[in-house]
């Protein structure tokens, strides 16, 4: 009950934290693009948080390299719950091009639980916004 109330409160304004776990940084740029004048997700109350401890949503890009997984787990633990994890890009969803690599430890859902998958290489900002909207609609 308390948890679902808290989840409902989340719907008003999502604070997202962005985490790159071995990406080509294009997904990361497209995330930032969502903040710039053309897409401007701040008008929906979504904004980037400076620390994972303030975040409701973790946006994760990249394949999750061996060197990174410990840190990803740690950051996930530090995120206040209830929170959501969004896997952005083919890399985070499946490993994409790099799935055969020797440093591949992901994909992300092997490391931490994932709520939303947004495929694409990179997904367009519109796709990311659509993904977040679906997430918001699914909160009950």
């Amino acid at each position: 009950m308390v948890l679902s109330l808290r989840k409902k409160a989340l719907k008003k304004s999502l604070f997202v934290f962005h985490l790159s776990t071995g990406s080509c940084n294009n997904c990361d740029i497209e995330i930032l693009d969502c903040l710039t004048p053309r897409f401007d997700i701040e008008r929906f109350g979504i904004t980037l948080a400076g620390s994972v401890k303030h975040a409701d949503v973790l946006l994760v890009t990249g394949i999750g390299t061996l060197k990174n997984i410990e840190r990803v787990k740690k950051l996930y633990q530090q995120m206040p719950k209830p929170g959501f994890v969004v896997a952005i890009g083919s890399c985070a969803c499946t490993g994409g091009m790099f799935r055969d690599g020797y440093t591949m430890a992901g994909p992300l859902d092997k490391i931490i639980p994932v709520d939303v998958y947004i495929p694409g290489c990179p997904p367009k900002p519109e796709a990311m916004i659509a993904g977040i909207v679906k997430l918001l609609n699914s909160i009950k």
Binding site: C24, N25, N26, D28, I29, R38, N68, R71, Y102, C121
Partner: protein, 411 residues
């Protein structure tokens, strides 16, 4: 003497791949810098050895999202060097167009981030807004905003249709006055000048010692540019010039990048002239890659990007070596950061464009003796932004209302 270590990284709130910097500070001054990389290591060279020659163009595209056409061009150059083939003229022009469009969007991205670090969020929003039309062009002619998949061994994958050419021209024409405005706004601003001039200076000796490349080297007076020095694609068929500056500070690097955008536009326009109304092959078939070695390079927005391939005559390379420009540029921190204050380090690190914003990582400062936390990520950028505000006051320039509101909200 009490020394403080400021670790920068490996995670950062805003973006880019993780990397780690440790600054050793004595009071406000930085006395040493240490760099640990590898958080982003995906083993691309190894994966490349298991892929077919044609697949590798897609793989190298995904090395970096911002230079996502520089690596394929360099790789195709390497394989074409190995197979001794010459690409058709039309393909040359198309390669140039894609490469230069990428340079404009990459430089604008840098200008925006640099503005953000200095507390000029207006510049950030402007630069990123003006970058969008370039991405629109890309989407129109290649089908994707980034990762264009245009390059192919022996030419390019898609033609630029005649119908698109006037549209591209129109978008570029519209962009020019805005870019002009942005350039003047940045270059004439007294506060930015006070903040950036004389900061993070690299002499041409430093550049040679570290082997720095691209705009970093050109801002220190070194006249190097692979596009001119080792012509490939259509760079020897069009008129353009290499931009250099002599000061070697962060301001000079910004000048070089901004002026390069205009040169890129010049190149694109000439290439479009040469495409218009003409027909021709856009690629030739390269069936077999003979045994041997090949090298290829391309002037990526951050400097020379280098690829080496060795073949044993089979379907995939025996060895594929890649050297990206940031690998050379990042260690110059050793020369440029030492002796500077902590609040300037943010912009110096960003000024090299090390795939940009190492400083936006989770930055935490610990006191060496007590292990107590002193500063963290947002503090670091705040320090830099505070310095700008201070200089603004000294010079007597008022920040815009919007900036002020933002500043109050964030702090």
């Amino acid at each position: 003497m009490k020394k403080v270590i400021v670790p920068i990284g490996p995670y950062h709130p805003l973006f880019e791949e993780p990397e780690y910097f440790a600054l050793y500070c004595d009071g406000e001054r930085v006395v040493d810098v240490e760099w640990i990389a590898g958080y982003n290591h995906r083993g691309i060279e190894k994966i490349s050895e298991s892929k077919h020659w044609d697949q590798i163009t897609f793989l190298v595209e995904r090395i970096c999202g911002i230079c996502s056409t520089s690596h394929p061009i360099a790789y195709c150059n390497a394989v074409e060097d190995l197979a001794k083939v010459e690409i058709p003229e039309r393909a040359k022009y198309i390669r140039c167009i894609i490469g230069e469009l990428e340079r404009i969007h990459s430089h604008l991205l840098w200008v925006g981030l640099a503005g953000h670090f200095l507390g000029y969020n207006t510049v950030f929003m402007w630069a990123w807004k003006y970058r969008e039309p370039i991405l629109d062009i890309m989407e129109m002619i290649t089908g994707n905003r980034n990762h264009y998949a245009m390059m192919k061994i022996g030419g390019v994958r898609r033609d630029i249709d005649d119908a698109y050419i006037p549209i591209i021209r129109k978008i570029l024409e519209d962009l020019k006055p805005k870019l002009n405005m942005l350039t003047n706004a940045v270059l004439d601003d007294p506060v930015l000048a006070a903040r950036l001039k004389g900061v993070g200076v690299l002499t041409d000796k430093d550049i040679k010692e570290f082997g720095a490349l691209g705009p970093v080297a050109r801002a220190s007076g070194l006249d190097i540019d692979v596009r001119r020095d080792s012509p490939h694609a259509a760079y020897d068929l069009v008129e353009w010039k290499v931009i250099t500056q002599n000061e070697g500070d962060v301001f000079a690097r910004a000048v070089v990048r901004l002026l390069e955008c205009f040169e890129s536009m010049k190149i694109i326009e000439q290439c479009l002239d040469n495409l218009k109304g003409k027909k021709g092959e856009i690629s030739i078939d390269v069936r077999n890659i003979p045994p041997g070695e090949g090298i290829g390079h391309y002037e990526a927005p951050r400097g020379e990007c280098f690829h080496y391939v060795r073949s044993d005559g089979t379907g995939s390379p025996l060895r594929h070596k890649i050297r990206a420009p940031s690998f050379n540029n990042i260690p110059t921190f050793k020369a440029s950061c030492i002796g500077e204050t902590i609040s300037d380090v943010t912009i110096i690190l960003a000024g090299v464009d090390p795939c940009y914003c190492c400083t936006e990582r989770a930055i935490v400062a610990y006191d060496v003796n007590t292990q107590k936390k002193i500063l963290d990520g947002s503090d670091f950028i705040r320090l830099s932004q505070e310095k700008t505000r201070k200089i603004e006051k000294e010079i007597g320039v008022a920040p815009s209302r919007w900036e002020e509101k933002n500043w109050e909200r964030d702090n």
